[in-house]
């Protein structure tokens, strides 16, 4: 319970730091990095509900980022929504559109598992990218679409986007934490560990997996809508970007996949450094950085930073209290074996 209180205190401190950040740092470039970082906190945390809790690693949810961006821009045109504060109300609308589209795609992809699932989700990204290029009546093809222009300008420009990104990140984190502590979360984790076993203990695995898939799509799409509003434009290659898929997975794995704090920590580390490398070295060196970081994480800290650090601190504390830490019992045999 002490650990819970420490975590809550850390969370409150982080929110306070985030809340005053744009007031203290008035550099527009840095504020922009902060906005993107918060967007990735939201996206990685949403991705983690499916990839971390449920164990279905999707490399296609960037499709829904794009669907959110396009849904936002297109619906703002259709409904004549001007740029302003009210425009932010279109974020959940875009999210719901993407969630509805995610249902059939999730239903199909979730009939497969493991590597097949990963491959199918990768295919989704390219399907959606092709659609964005070719449904010109809807998307204006490679020329892209302009989003509503915000009614505020100058040094204030970033501020509303920053706080909306912060709010979105906090909402996703709260939803993820609620799911983790609920029966739904327990059942998702059971699916991750042994799906067939879970089915044989009464769990509606199909429905729950699909819920996780759609919830992730909903929030990732809201981030996409926010992105479209912020950069005031939406193009196929930016909206449906394979790098976003890598980013969400990499951030979750770096921080600790399946935990609440992991994707947050991962996004806070990866996104600013990625932006820094892009500026410092120009060009596509950030791709090399992604690949390199992924290798380091998988080889050195496969569970991610957060669980590794947490256990390290816990083991140091227990060593200080009792001279000899009790040896943990280790497994004799694994619990693998289908239908045996």
């Amino acid at each position: 319970m002490k650990r819970k209180r420490v975590q809550a205190a850390m969370m409150v401190a982080a929110v306070i730091v985030a809340a005053v950040f744009p007031l203290v740092v008035s550099n527009a470039a840095i504020d922009s990095v902060a906005i993107f970082t918060l967007m990735y906190v939201a996206m990685a945390s949403a991705w983690n509900i499916l990839g971390g809790f449920t164990g279905y690693v999707s490399l296609g949810h960037a499709s829904f980022f794009g669907v959110g961006a396009y849904a936002f821009t297109i619906l703002c045109h259709v409904w004549h929504v001007p740029g302003g504060w009210i425009t932010f109300a279109m974020l959940p609308v875009a999210g719901v559109v993407a969630a509805l589209i995610a249902i059939p795609f999730g239903w199909v992809a979730l009939r497969t598992r493991k590597h097949t699932f990963v491959v199918i989700t990768i295919a989704y990204l390219f399907i959606f990218q092709l659609l964005a290029y070719n449904l010109t009546g809807l998307t204006n093809g490679s020329a892209g679409l302009g989003s509503p222009i915000p009614s505020w300008t100058g040094s204030f420009f970033n501020i509303p986007f920053f706080y909306v990104a912060l709010a979105l990140a906090l909402i996703v984190i709260a939803v993820a934490a609620w799911i983790r502590s609920s029966r739904l979360g327990l059942h998702l984790l059971a699916i991750r560990d042994d799906e067939d076993r879970a089915l044989g203990l009464g769990i509606k695995t199909g429905r729950l997996k699909l819920s996780a898939f759609v919830i992730a799509a909903l929030f990732i799409a809201m981030a996409g809508a926010l992105y479209a509003y912020y950069i005031t434009y939406v193009y196929p290659p930016f909206a449906m970007n394979p790098l976003d898929d890598l980013a969400m997975a990499l951030m979750s794995f770096t921080g600790g996949v399946g935990t609440i704090a992991g994707p947050i920590i991962g996004a806070l580390l990866v996104e600013p450094s990625q932006q820094y490398f892009t500026v410092a070295f120009q060009s596509g060196l950030n791709l090399v950085t992604y690949g390199g970081l992924f290798l380091v994480v998988i080889l050195l800290i496969p569970r991610g930073l957060w669980p590794t650090l947490r256990d390290f601190v816990a083991s140091r504390q227990s060593r200080q209290r009792v001279p000899q830490a009790p040896a943990a019992e280790t497994s004799v045999l694994s619990s693998e074996g289908g239908g045996q």
Binding site: S182, R183, L186, H187, L189, A190, R192, D193, D194, D196, R197, A198, L199, G200, L201, G202, I203, K204, T205, G258, A328, E329, T330, S331, V332, L333, S335, E336, G337, G339, Q340
Partner: protein
């Protein structure tokens, strides 16, 4: 009327005929043994009864409802639980969380609220794992996993439980614990169908024994009758 009635079940895997028309009953309130040499089709029979594999032909009746071909989820909801030969627990969940996993939606056995931790701890205490309640299940020994899986299944208040080699690969004191748990739970009205190689275990525990050999039921009777049945001795010694 038996609680479980299996009739002429056939199942093959490619060229291998794993089950060739098996028929037997499990009486309400009994501990019934299902024995036979390795590869005789016992686990396949369990998979058929619990919905993990679908038979090519035959009939499985439980509480008078035909259940063959239904999903493992539906069958579990009806109150038919099982364990696996190699225990299948949720390795990255704590023991308490493992206990809270099963659900029987739409039945009177489903709690309206999230199961409490105290409730889970009572079940862990019942199988002697209370001191490990916050341990990740993946850190348990093989025998402890069998006990945990037993508790998970029983916590859902099933009427019939299929145990696949509950004493297999487990140390002698844990075998005794397992036998004691089965007897005690049976006393509370739970029916058991037990696959086991340990003959002492089977003969002391079971009221009735079904013997399988090469996908067929070759004998069916009281433990005493089975022990002196020439066909059974043949099947075991002939192997």
């Amino acid at each position: 009327m038996p609680l479980l009635h299996v009739e002429r079940i056939a199942k093959s895997f490619g060229g291998i005929q794993a089950l060739r028309g098996c028929t037997f009953d499990v009486d309400q309130g009994s501990v019934t043994g299902l024995i036979g040499p390795n590869g005789s089709g016992k686990t396949t029979m369990f998979n058929v009864i619990t919905g993990y594999t679908h038979p090519e032909s035959g009939l499985v009746k439980y509480h008078d409802a035909t259940i063959q071909g239904q999903s493992p989820r539906t069958i579990f909801e009806r109150g038919l639980g099982r364990t696996f030969q190699a225990p299948r627990i949720f390795g990255r969940l704590s023991l308490v969380e493992n206990l809270k996993v099963p659900t029987r939606q739409g039945t009177s056995h489903e709690p309206s609220r999230h199961r409490s931790t105290e409730w889970a701890e009572e079940w862990l205490a019942f199988v002697g794992l209370a001191q490990h309640r916050q341990t990740m299940a993946g850190a348990l020994s093989y025998g402890q996993r069998k006990l945990l899986e037993f508790a998970i299944v029983l916590a859902a208040e099933p009427d019939l439980v299929l145990l696949d080699e509950p004493a297999g690969g487990v140390n002698p004191s844990m075998i005794e614990t397992m036998a004691h748990l089965i007897t005690e739970t049976n006393g509370r009205g739970v029916t058991f169908l037990v696959v086991e190689h340990n003959m002492g275990f089977v003969m002391s525990l079971c009221h009735h024994v079904v013997v399988m050999h090469q996908g067929q039921v070759i004998a069916d009777g009281s433990p005493d009758a089975i022990q002196s049945n020439p066909a059974v001795l043949d099947a075991y010694l002939g192997d």
